[in-house]
């Protein structure tokens, strides 16, 4: 049992809904240590993703992921746009032209996404960025029983923990780093959005 293009589209619809629901929370997190736009940026991006998926749904998982990538790159702006955009672009490349993704393919996609974020943003674990959520998620996404839903759920749990782990950190990358010590005590908005997205993907996979 794998993920078809339609499943990936469904997962992205779920993600878009979650982003919209958490827009204000992400704005508030970014207001504390950044410039108060992360929720707005992602909302703009995923709203565009939805309308492009509606207009012309691609027929392979890779094409869906690539459409998401180019849409995020052209609509999100800020740091998150190129970072999430690169993540989806690399994920798309990692899964080839299979019409259905099995669990190892999903795990490869996650690993490629992380590699892309790191290549672009040069952050390491502990810098208080989305890398602190994505890194443990990749590690946790094991395919023991071959279930995509189970792998994604483990990844989402790990990402949530990773996001929580950013609270005490002092930021060393992105806008929050300007605050120095004053950045401690707040969760990183990008880590939080990564956790939210993975949870939405996991829930969608469980329902598929």
């Amino acid at each position: 049992m794998g993920c078809t293009a339609a499943d990936v589209v469904a997962a992205l619809r779920a993600a878009a809904t979650v982003v919209q629901e958490h827009r204000d929370e992400l704005v508030r997190l970014d207001q504390a240590i950044g410039d108060a736009d992360h929720g707005e940026n992602l909302k703009r991006g995923f709203t565009a993703v939805l309308s492009r998926l509606d207009a012309d749904p691609p027929d392979t998982p890779a094409k869906v992921l690539k459409l998401v990538a180019t849409t995020l790159i052209s609509t999100v702006g800020g740091a998150a746009g190129p970072l999430y955009g690169t993540a989806f672009l690399r994920a798309s490349a990692a899964v080839g032209d299979a019409t259905e993704l099995d669990c190892p393919a999903v795990a490869r996609a996650l690993q490629a996404a992380l590699d892309g974020v790191v290549a672009r943003g040069k952050a390491v674990v502990g810098d208080k960025t989305m890398v602190d959520a994505l890194t443990p998620a990749v590690t946790a996404a094991a395919c023991a029983d071959g279930s995509v839903a189970a792998a994604l759920s483990a990844a989402a749990d790990a990402a949530a923990e990773g996001a929580s782990s950013t609270v005490p950190m002092v930021a060393r990358k992105g806008r929050a780093s300007y605050l120095g010590e004053r950045s401690a005590g707040h969760m990183d908005p990008g880590a939080r959005s990564t956790a939210l997205l993975l949870r939405a993907f996991a829930d969608a996979a469980a329902e598929a």
Binding site: D35, A36, R44, S74, V76, G77, G121, V170, R175, Y178
Partner: protein, 330 residues
């Protein structure tokens, strides 16, 4: 939140429409992706000088598009860097065969998006990153210094060089020389309110100011009691002078900038103090710029920028410029 807007979602687009209406002879505004270019099409054989960044800092950057300054500006959403599409489009619209120089303010978002654009563009492209804000420690533990007031001076000087026909390598080298010679710092008396947020970006008590703020409503180095104008000017000028460092005998351009909400009467007052402090140290102010040129929406506050001048920079500063916000010699 009280603002003269119709809808937080369309602020930038609506403002661009007004800008086009206000300057039909100078600008051509394109939407989707949003790009402000010089009227009249690409100048053949001239390096295109392109900048951009989040909106809310007007007149930066769109107000500096025109003869002798920028070829194009890419306005992002309020306080959010533009996307790489916008930059790619700006390059395509303005490259007259001599390539494009991208002027990027040092923020992660701006750097990443302009970097992607440079990778995607079909033209010969060079990028320079301006990081003149001495309030931020430039270390492994930060994203580096922010690009602030120095950007305005950089765009003017490099724009003039491109206008006189300097090639891409020369424009890049000059830009790096300006970046190496310019330092800035700002303070806020009140916070701005981002339209899509609707509440102040940071809190300040009635007797507090925030020293070392950036231009995006991000908090600064520290909150202190708001003192006199003389104390404020010193608090900005001393870190700037120490940083380069500027020394007695240096020839400088002093740029006294309002963050948007500070009235001109206060700005001139602060400028007079800064001139006096520089004179006391034997630093020679040869050129000056006073006004709201790189702002943070309605934020009250100011920034100071000091550029160490050489003869070529003076000549390029004085060269004709014709843009919505800066105009002389034409």
């Amino acid at each position: 939140m009280k603002k003269i807007i119709n809808d937080p979602e369309t602020v930038v687009q609506d403002a661009l429409r007004g800008m086009q209406a206000a300057h039909p002879d100078l600008l051509a505004v394109h939407h989707d992706p949003a790009v402000v270019v010089r009227a009249g099409g690409p100048a053949q054989g001239k390096v295109a000088v392109i900048s951009g960044g989040g909106s809310g800092h007007e007149p930066l950057h769109g107000g500096f598009v025109g003869r002798g300054m920028l070829s194009a500006a890419c306005p992002g959403p309020v306080f959010t860097s533009p996307t790489s599409d916008q930059v790619v489009d700006a390059i395509a619209r303005t490259d007259g065969g001599a390539g494009a120089l991208l002027i990027v303010k040092n923020y992660t978002g701006d750097v990443l998006n302009f970097e992607m654009a440079a990778e995607l563009a079909e033209s010969e492209v060079r990028s320079v990153v301006i990081d003149d804000d001495v309030a931020v420690k430039d270390s492994l533990y930060t994203a580096g210094r922010r690009g602030v007031g120095g950007t305005v001076l950089l765009e003017k000087i490099v724009g003039a060089a491109a206008e006189r026909g300097d090639d891409l390598a020369a424009c890049e080298a000059l830009a790096l020389r300006v970046i190496a010679s310019v330092r800035s710092m700002g303070l806020a008396l009140t916070s701005c309110v981002v339209p899509h947020v609707g509440s102040p970006s940071f809190d300040l008590a009635d007797d507090e100011m925030e020293i070392g703020i950036g231009i995006h409503g991000e908090p600064g180095r520290k909150k202190v009691k708001a003192g006199t104008a003389s104390e404020m000017v010193s608090a900005l000028l001393e870190p700037i002078l120490e940083d380069l460092p500027f020394a007695s005998g240096d020839r400088v351009l002093l740029f006294t900038n309002s963050m948007g909400g500070t009235p001109l009467v206060e700005l001139y007052l602060a400028h007079g103090i800064a001139e006096q402090l520089l004179a006391d140290r034997g630093i020679v102010v040869e050129r000056r710029l006073v006004g709201p040129y790189i702002t943070s929406l309605e934020m009250q506050g100011m920034s100071l920028t000091l550029l160490r001048l050489d003869d070529e920079m003076v000549e390029l500063w004085d060269a004709p410029v014709h843009t919505p916000a800066l105009r002389w010699g034409v």
